[in-house]
């Protein structure tokens, strides 16, 4: 909330203001994820299990698609910390989602180097193509469009991340086609990170 008489503080925007509404279905790790979790926890001192909260949440998100109150409860129990401790972390970091996202989470880098190379026009093209504004998911649940801050591949601007995959040098004119290709063929159409691609 704002104490300024005229300027409203954008409460929906700041990450610390996000709330968790979804209790979700009952949640426990699958056997595979549980085994993975037990491997990860060994990296930290035995009395510092809390350190594993980020990887533990990633596992939960991979299993369920997004983080629910029940997932938070499970992670908190495994780590021996309170649910508030876990929710504190979930609400802070931008890569955890507390609502379901589309099959393809399209993340357009909007920071300076990408913007200088046409990232705003990529967002414009995607908005027109998908019929949704940044922050929204389309009716069919296929695409979620969001703008993100610098992804760290500024020499290949504009950069777009789709789920965990990268697509570089995306021209505004090609953005609509990329969405069609994603729908038809899935993540294989992404260019990948050029450093990785060049080693093939």
């Amino acid at each position: 909330m704002s104490f300024h008489p005229k300027m409203a503080y954008d409460a929906t925007f700041h990450k610390s203001a996000r709330t968790l509404e979804d209790e979700g279905p009952p949640f426990v790790y699958t056997a595979e994820n549980r085994a993975r979790f037990e491997e990860i926890i060994k990296r930290y001192p035995p009395d510092r299990r809390r350190s594993a909260v980020l990887p533990a949440l990633y596992l939960a998100q991979a299993q369920q698609g997004y983080i629910t109150a029940n997932a938070i409860r499970h992670v908190a129990e495994l780590l021996g910390i309170t649910r508030a401790d876990v929710e504190d972390v979930v609400s802070f970091y931008t890569m955890f989602y507390t609502k379901p996202v589309g099959k393809f989470l399209v993340q357009v880098c909007r920071t300076l180097s990408c913007a200088l190379n046409g990232a705003e026009r990529v967002t414009e093209a995607l908005t027109a193509k998908l019929g949704i504004k940044p922050g929204e998911t389309d009716q069919s649940g296929t695409f979620t469009l969001i703008e993100v801050e610098c992804l760290g591949a500024c020499d290949r601007a504009p950069v777009v991340m789709v789920n965990d995959g990268w697509h570089e040098c995306l021209k505004p004119d090609d953005a609509a086609k990329l969405m069609d290709d994603l729908r038809a063929k899935g993540e294989t159409v992404l260019s990948g990170c050029h450093h990785v691609v060049e080693r093939r």
Binding site: M7, Y9, F13, H14, K15, S16, R43, P45, R48, R50, S51, A52, L54, P55, L57, Y58, L79, I81, D85, D88, V89, F92, Y93, T94, M95, F96, R110, T111, L112, S113, A115, L116, N117, G118, E120, R121, T123, E124, T127, K133, P134, E147, V148, E149, C150, L151, G152, A153, C154, D155, R156, A157, M161, W166, G192, C193, H195, V196, E198, R199
Partner: protein, 431 residues
Amino acid sequence: MDPILIKHVRERNSFTLDFYLQHEGYKALKTALTRKPDEIIEMVKASGLRGRGGAGFPTGMKWQFVDKKIEPRYIACNADESEPGTFKDHLLMERNPHLLVEGCAIGCYAIGAKVAYIYIRGEFLHVQGVLEQAIAEAYAGGFLGKNILGSGFDCDVYVHRGAGAYEAGEETALLESLEGKRAQPRNKPPFPALVGLYNKPTAVNNVETLCNVPLVVAKGAEWFAQLGPEKNGGPKLYCVSGHVKRPGVYEASMQITLRELIEGYAGGVRDGRTLKAVIPGGSSVPIMMPDQLDTQASFDAIQKAGSLLGSAAIIVLDDTTCMVWLAENLLHFYRHESCGKCTPCREGTDWLHKILRRIERGEGQMRDLDLLSSISANIGGKTLCAFGDAAVTPVTTTLKHFRHEYEAHIKEGRCTLHADWRARQPVGAHA
């Protein structure tokens, strides 16, 4: 200067242990293990190696400050690389990961740590895969784990992936995040060298810094120091992006000038446009003007010229760039990334962004310019970490050099420089 750190990055298999061993890999670690830890620290001090993450603090000093009386000690490698315009660590980790692993092991040996955590940013999932593969190979080759190369020295290296927070690149915020909390900075002092991860002595070093350590050990402090100007030794990676013909990572001695980097390596400003301004060290540093291009791209020379080398992320702006738009773009970033711990930064960045947005849209008033300066003065220097100073820099520096553009927006009631690479209609953050 021929590339050293990224010499082989374009070659096939440059990320594998076999390739690394064929190119004198892990020889520095072998050498290091025959010396006393204190000798390694003295060597790094003598080399003049300075932190490559942004502050340029001498690495040897940092290691010396680590409290050697308290066990256990840690190395936290800062691979959170989030400064807009920076992508050098990304390249190093993907294409030369063993160099970082070797640097971590030598660093651990020097300060007497047994564990190093490499904190990578959440978006670098593909980097995590490459790093973890390299670490597994290093364990199998006997370069990590118990009794490394028969020396009796034990060292473990783990990758810890963040989850999208620029602030995690601040050293104490990184430690908080590593402890499983929000990435918010701690009060300093005490510095991490005394009270760091899990309240134990910790050295927090950037990826490129640790990658330079094997060079110092293998080829000697003198060799390293003479590669660059005084107190700016060693090879340096520069990230050039923006309106240039060939953006990319370039390795050079810090004797190089900004002009050589931009006009030589990166091919100059593209599309026949002219240069308007340069951001020499990532979005958090003051702008430099075209008449300053002959400045040496070293920590000291750039600081003398009124800016900072920072993470050596050179963002080139051509004459189609509206500087009010630029400030708005960057303040959107800082407003989003402010961790919210200190009030001046949390509230102030939001206000700065709102005012910049209305000026950019042509709805500003002349008194807004004083308001911008006033808010900036109330954020800079009034926060726990350097984020506050970084966040106001785009505003103060554009106001200083391009006040006439702000005034033109206000007088004409519109953006006076609308480039074709910008949105036709306000979208997303601009809507």
